[in-house]
């Protein structure tokens, strides 16, 4: 009995370690590759692209937690959600700061023009702004303080992810394969959530 109970806890611990490793690896790898000059001919572009992709991966992973829980019954997976979400925010910040700092050298007028006039940047920037309150309120204290409102607030993660995917889709020139795959994944995750919600409300009505 004791061993059985320890197992799931170990599984979460291992998953946590894996998330930390995967989450920190891209910026560490990018930095070393930058100094070793192995980032290709346009490192700025590579850094921004790679960090943008990892932002989406972590956003989708965060949003996959509940659907996976529903489909597999692995309830403890919820314990991973905050870490995944914070890594999504972390990569979004690295992505944005690379764009602001090394792409535009903190040239504010260009950045403001981009954010206001280029729709793909408007979408991406809005997504980042939406992630800020979610990251801030991810602590236990805020969860307690906000109570039911916390869940409602954190539904914004779906809006942020949708805007992130749109940002990606609007950015590419012709090969829309990856943005569309991201969109389909997001829609799939949302569909699973809705399906279970309907089931639950139907069950409630029956009782």
């Amino acid at each position: 009995m004791e061993a059985k109970r320890a197992n799931p806890r170990r599984r979460i611990l291992l998953a946590r370690i894996a998330i930390w490793v995967v989450g920190l690896a891209p910026p560490i790898w990018l930095t070393t590759a930058l100094f070793r000059r192995t980032l290709g001919i346009n490192p700025v572009e590579t850094i921004i692209l790679v960090e943008g992709r990892w932002t989406l991966v972590f956003l989708l992973a965060t949003l996959a937690v509940t659907p996976i829980r529903r489909l597999t019954g692995w309830n403890r997976i919820v314990q991973l959600r905050r870490l995944l979400g914070l890594f999504a925010f972390f990569h979004a910040c690295v992505h944005f700061l690379s764009y602001v700092g090394i792409n535009h050298l903190f040239e504010l007028s260009i950045i403001v023009e981009d954010v206001l006039e280029r729709r793909y940047i408007t979408a991406g920037f809005t997504a980042l702004l939406l992630l800020v309150p979610l990251a801030v309120t991810s602590t236990k204290g805020w969860i307690r303080r906000l109570g039911k409102r916390w869940q409602r607030l954190h539904r914004l993660s779906y809006v942020a992810a949708s805007l992130g995917v749109l940002h990606f889709y609007w950015k590419v020139k012709a090969d829309t394969f990856w943005p569309l795959l991201a969109a389909v994944t997001l829609a799939g995750l949302f569909a699973v959530r809705l399906a279970y919600r309907k089931k639950r409300s139907r069950r409630r009505k029956e009782h």
């Binding site: 490192p43 090394i102 940047i121 950015k171 020139k173 012709a174 090969d175």
Partner: protein
């Protein structure tokens, strides 16, 4: 052998342009002679190239390319094209509104012209740029040989399209191949318009558009079509790949212009590739007509370049 005797009255428009072009050409040869044949650069004129405008390295030029037939990643063409693209034998078809349509073996196509080295700026529509020491010959040579008829007003170009050689996965949303580009006849006749056969004095690598590509240095890079198999003379403005794919973003002219932004990004500055730097490049201001305004601005006199972007 057919000898065409032309009446005085039927001077094709293509013959009117060359005169002006010839005058410009002499001017152009005169100024560049002092600088040396190998470093043209558009230097020595009003829009002189800054002192630090050194050619990009072979490595930079040949490993960062847009050649979607070989993949959409910048490194894909260098990975895929050299092993797949068959450049020998290579045939170039010249057809449309001209007196001398023909299919040429590449060798015969190049032979009559004098090959020269010219270093041009290359400004990609994606806002990065390089300085490239091309080797080639004036596009005007080919046009004169073809003798476009009086009705011809445009030149259309086509890239090879062979799915066997080009691994573009056709289940993805894709471009309507073959890749097509075009120029107005006077643009094509301009002495700066170069048919390129080499780079740094060597044969052109596959990823750069071997064995024959265009270099039109005052226009965004995608106008400089790669791996050309067909050159046609037309009366109407020919459809071009990017302007057809996304007409809101890419026009037929696509002249480099810092005052006309791409809908999704600014064209005021560019990232000059420079692998000597930590971040691999430096931001510089984009010049009107990529710094070739003195040579080509007259082609667009009276035109609204915002509308004709």
């Amino acid at each position: 052998m057919i000898i065409r005797i032309r009446k005085n009255s039927d001077v094709p428009s293509s013959e009117i342009t060359p005169e002006q072009v010839y005058i410009n050409r002499r001017k152009f040869l005169g100024t560049s002679a002092g600088i040396g044949v190998a470093t043209f650069l558009g230097a020595g004129r009003a829009h002189a190239a800054p002192q630090d405008e050194e050619p990009n390295t072979w490595e930079e030029i040949t490993s960062y390319n847009n050649f979607y037939e070989f993949g959409t990643g910048k490194e894909d063409p260098a990975k895929n094209a050299p092993d797949r693209l068959i450049t020998d034998p290579w045939t170039v078809k010249v057809d449309g509104l001209c007196n001398n349509p023909a299919d040429y073996h590449l060798e015969d196509f190049i032979k009559p012209s004098t090959i020269e080295d010219r270093t041009y700026r290359l400004r990609c529509v994606e806002a990065w740029s390089m300085v490239v020491p091309w080797r080639g010959f004036p596009l005007a040579d080919v046009i004169k040989r073809a003798e476009p008829t009086a009705a011809a007003r445009y030149v259309a170009f086509e890239t090879l399209w062979d799915p066997e050689q080009m691994p573009e996965r056709n289940w993805r949303p894709r471009i309507d191949w073959p890749y097509r580009e075009g120029l107005r006849l006077d643009e094509a006749m301009h002495p700066l318009s170069l048919l390129v056969t080499g780079l740094y004095g060597r044969d052109l690598p596959a990823q750069n558009g071997a064995p024959l590509r265009l270099a039109v240095p005052w226009k965004y890079g995608f106008k400089s079509i790669k791996s050309i198999v067909r050159i046609s003379f037309t009366e109407d403005q020919p459809p071009t790949t990017w302007a057809t794919q996304t007409p809101r973003e890419y026009g037929f002219y696509s002249n480099v212009n810092p005052d006309v932004d791409h809908p999704r990004w600014s064209q005021k500055t560019e990232r000059r590739i420079d692998s000597g730097r930590l971040f691999g490049s430096r931001r510089i201001d984009t010049q009107f007509l990529n710094g070739y305004a003195d040579e080509v601005a007259h082609l667009y006199e009276g035109m609204d370049l915002r509308k004709n972007f």
